[in-house]
Amino acid sequence: MSSNKHRSKKVILIISILLAIIFLAPFYLVLTNSFKTQQGIFLNVMRLPFGDFFNPQNYIEAFKQLNYIRSFLNSLFITVFSTIIIIIFSSMAAWMLVRTKTKLSTFLFFLFTSAMLIPFQSVMLPLVNIMGRLGLLNPIGLIFMYLGFGSSLSIILYHGFVKNIPIELEEAATIDGCSPIQIFLYIIFPLLKPITVTVSILNVMWIWNDFLLPQLVINKPQWHTIPLKMFYFFGQYSRRWDLALAGLVISMIPIITFYFIVQKHIIKGITQGSIK
């Protein structure tokens, strides 16, 4: 009995190690090769970056070519503002959709849910066309579009969470003297913290890494985000893998840092479904 248990534990451990290797292998390749010369990468992609091929200059070069500070700030501006706007609008919308029990609110909620089923590629060309005519092919327009694309999932997540908040809390707050907006700010929004963290992580990850939408919307190079700048390492005649990989590492740092800071909240957001 106990030897069986012991054996199954070992099997699980071996499988876990194999999975870890599979998941970490790309990181290994990116990280080691980012310190190699272009030639070193092509000669032996698995080798550690020591000896002749060691070239930390990649980072300095990538930093310069990416115009890192500028593109980092662009990415940051777009990601932060999009996420904040998504959080504000979808939490308020979800709250109202839960508390208003009319046919219209059911229909609106259904509309948000069904919007998730429409693939982005099928709407991107008409969208860019319309936004172009409105003169919104710029970061502000991009943030607006992210609000549209991001709010469906966020509203659904908030909706499920708000349903678990007892209405009596709002009634108590009403009697205490809160206006509806104060109820939202002082009572509802603080209680939504776990799900807000989840919503912000999902949106930050997606928006920070997004390539297609910014590519379509942002024409001016001074507004290019990190993923757009990365694209320039892959020109028509040359592919600068050495610089691209170094660029990848420095572009990953902010998002990985963000993930580690908030990761303990992700689990809380998923498990802490109700407020009692």
Binding site: P166, E168, L169, E171, A172, A173, T174, I175, D176, G177, C178, Q182, Y186, I187, P190, L191, K193, I275, K276
Partner: protein, 369 residues
């Protein structure tokens, strides 16, 4: 501190569902009023209309001579305690209590004074820094009361505040709330479905059923002189026994006849029945379990009111025994002394106290006496 006046209040929900019908009540200043009734009788709706959480469909609500139908809850000068406490989970006990005052821009020192004072009254001074999650049910209930007290409202509204507590704590908090009422000298309106709470706490009780007031009276009057079968059955535990039978008159005597038994009625009660024309008509007799006796002396005293009962179950409550009997075709509960004979499946002699008998019209269910 304020009196309330509810005049012809109606609550009609969409779809023509009437929750409260023509509710009229004058509540005096400093009075402890209890609204009691089975679930769905409209008692909570009435309380919520007073609080301003539900709109009044028709009628007028006055708090201290001011009509408040259109006044926002925060401006009605009321405080409410909810069944599930409704404490803000993300705030400490102190912040929960101070929240309403902060919104009203009360000076910090004053907030501190009021919260400390309320915490002292409720004995929760050590809990002020805790979050509601870290409190027991009883402690949460105290905090909810504290949140109401600090506001120093004119009227306290309580919506089944004790129903989430265990039996022992409920009894304890019941007395605490009564003490609080005495201490604060404020108008309390309390909703419950538990008739024991109503009887022990209220100055006056409003019994409701299907959105209508059945009777408004003091606990003792309600117990001794219920106006109809519903109130008689609802107030009192174990509940009043009801027996359907006929009134028969033989010479000067009047009897209540059921299942081969003839209960001799007192001359005063006989006169009322005769005057109202109930002779040879069917009526419902009501008798409370404690008015059915098995003591020899009482059986000898009321020989005209003796019946045989077959004990089906007996429950020893400590100082007394509840006997669940079959008398003729009727199931009857009697409350007798703990040293009574109470073996199941034995026949025992019992006497109804003729002075304590209630009679109700069979059709209208209204009390005859």
């Amino acid at each position: 501190m304020a009196g309330l006046s509810l005049k012809n209040i109606y609550k009609i929900y969409p779809g023509d569902v009437t929750a409260v019908k023509d509710f009229n009540l004058e509540i005096k200043d400093k009075e402890f009023i209890v609204l009691v009734g089975p679930s769905g009788c409209g008692k909570s709706t009435t309380l919520r209309m007073i609080a301003g959480l539900e709109e009044i469909t028709k009628g007028e609500l006055f708090i201290e001579d001011r009509i408040v139908n259109e006044v926002a809850p925060k401006d009605r000068d009321i405080a409410m305690v909810f069944q599930n406490y409704a404490l803000y989970p993300h705030m400490t006990v102190y912040d929960n209590m101070a929240f309403g005052l902060k919104l009203r821009k009360t000076p910090k020192a004053e907030i501190h004074r009021r919260v400390s004072e309320a915490a002292k009254i409720l004995d929760i001074e050590e809990l002020l820094e805790r979050k509601p999650k870290a409190l027991s049910g009883g402690q949460r209930q105290r905090v909810a009361l504290g949140r109401a007290i600090v506001r120093e409202p004119k009227v306290f509204l309580m919506d089944e505040p004790l129903s989430n507590l265990d039996a022992k704590l409920r009894v304890l908090m019941r007395t605490e709330i009564s003490k609080l009422h005495y201490k604060l000298q404020t108008t309390f309106i309390y909703v419950t479905h538990d008739q024991t709470e109503a009887m022990t706490m209220g100055d006056r009780i409003v019994v409701m059923k299907d959105g209508l007031i059945q009777q408004v009276d003091t606990p003792l009057n309600l117990y001794n002189s219920p106006v109809n079968v519903f109130v008689a059955g609802f107030i009192g535990s174990p509940q009043m026994n009801f027996i359907t039978g006929q009134i028969e008159a033989t010479g000067d005597s009047t009897f209540f006849v059921f299942d081969n038994y003839r209960i001799l009625l007192t001359p005063e009660k006989s006169k009322v029945l005769k005057d109202k024309g109930y002779v040879n008509k069917e009526v419902v007799m009501g008798i409370r379990p404690e008015d059915i006796h098995d003591e020899e002396s009482i059986i000898e005293k009321y020989t005209g009111c003796v019946v045989d009962g077959n004990i089906e179950v007996s429950e020893l409550m400590g100082a007394e025994v509840y006997l669940y009997l079959k008398i003729g075709e009727h199931n009857i509960t009697a409350r007798v002394g703990s040293n009574s004979k109470s073996d199941p499946n034995t026949i025992t002699k019992l006497a109804f106290d003729p002075n304590k008998i209630h009679m109700f019209d069979k059709k209208s269910e209204l009390a005859i006496f």
